[in-house]
């Protein structure tokens, strides 16, 4: 697999995504400057990393969406290739209309960094294929705008089509307000497109790939994707 991590001005989890892909999963990984207009040839996975692109000024992800590289990212996503937006990357995906809805300031109106639990949901995707329905994963969130919002019809449709990829839950897998760090509607932590190749999520799987960091559950997402890649090959 060959991956490209997009570096926007203000991205700050690009290093972490690159570290995880290169060092933990031995994936050939390229850092791609937002001002470029094309991805390295044969790029299979595009990662839009976390951070504060353009300072998160105006709305998170709103300005990054217009970066020159985004046309290539759009094309990549629309060609059905894996595209992963983490945290700020999720916000960019949403602002780019690659995923529906919006991410609003957290319920508590504060930046929230803590370890949360989440469970897969939905119809399955290369990112989640190998993760069991009852598996409770642990990883950090760190964001100020992570409250997922969409109108009721859209939410119903997303759930109906199985596009909610991850939901916040408690350590035992149960749902409840206390386990939802930001007030996200229907406890949505991550979302995918109908093709299942575009995934956006607020939690940081790339920060949870080594047990020494407190959790290695984030590996499940990357491993699932790598296995799907091998199956397809």
């Amino acid at each position: 697999m060959k991956a490209a991590v997009i570096v926007f001005p203000g991205s700050n989890c690009d290093h972490d995504a690159v570290h995880a892909l290169r060092e933990i999963f031995s994936v050939e990984t390229h850092e791609v400057w937002h001002g470029d207009t094309s991805l390295p040839s044969d790029t299979e996975l595009v990662v839009l990393p976390g951070g504060f692109s353009y300072g998160d000024y105006l709305r998170s992800g709103a300005i990054a969406r217009f970066s020159p590289i985004m046309d290539a990212v759009q094309a990549h996503a629309k060609a059905g290739r894996p595209t992963l937006g983490i945290c700020n990357g999720f916000q960019v995906l949403v602002e780019s209309h690659l995923l529906p809805g919006a991410l609003l300031p957290n319920r508590g109106l504060k930046f929230c960094c803590r370890v949360i639990h989440l469970k897969v949901d939905g119809k399955g995707s290369p990112f989640t294929a190998d993760i069991g329905e009852d598996e409770v994963m642990t990883m950090p969130v760190a964001h100020h705008e992570g409250r997922y919002h969409a109108d009721e019809d859209t939410l119903d449709r997303l759930e109906g089509e199985g596009l909610v990829a991850f939901r916040y839950c408690g350590p035992d897998g149960s749902r409840g307000e206390a386990h939802n760090p930001n007030g996200s509607l229907r406890d949505i932590a991550g979302l995918m497109n109908p093709g299942g190749n575009v995934l956006g999520l607020m939690p940081h799987p790339e920060r949870a790939v080594e047990t020494v960091l407190g959790s290695a559950d984030g590996r499940r997402i990357f491993e699932s994707l790598l296995a799907a890649g091998r199956r397809a090959a």
């Binding site: 602002e95 529906p100 300031p105 109106l109």
Partner: protein, 82 residues
């Protein structure tokens, strides 16, 4: 041309910030405040003096960048600069 843009959350979107501000006003004793909503406000200059052209430009800015149509509405006003 002087431009003013207001961007507000759509009525159906929960305005957490507005709610918090209203709560704070209540606790300061301003209990009569109701229905508070918080929005964004932009002012800028546009060199052009062609009103139709300016209006088209501002509309484009609002739709593409200044507001997010999924959650926000916008209004704008143009004024000949003094």
């Amino acid at each position: 041309m002087r431009v003013e843009v207001h961007v507000t959350l759509k009525p159906a979107v929960l305005d957490v910030q507005g709610k918090a501000v209203q709560g704070a006003l209540h606790s300061l004793g301003h209990d009569a405040v109701t229905g508070l909503r918080q929005g964004k406000y932009f002012t800028f200059d546009l060199g052009s003096t062609d009103r139709a052209g300016a209006e088209a430009a501002v509309k484009d800015m609002c739709e593409k960048l200044l507001s997010n149509p999924v959650i926000e509405d916008f209004t704008y006003e143009l004024q000949e600069s003094a």
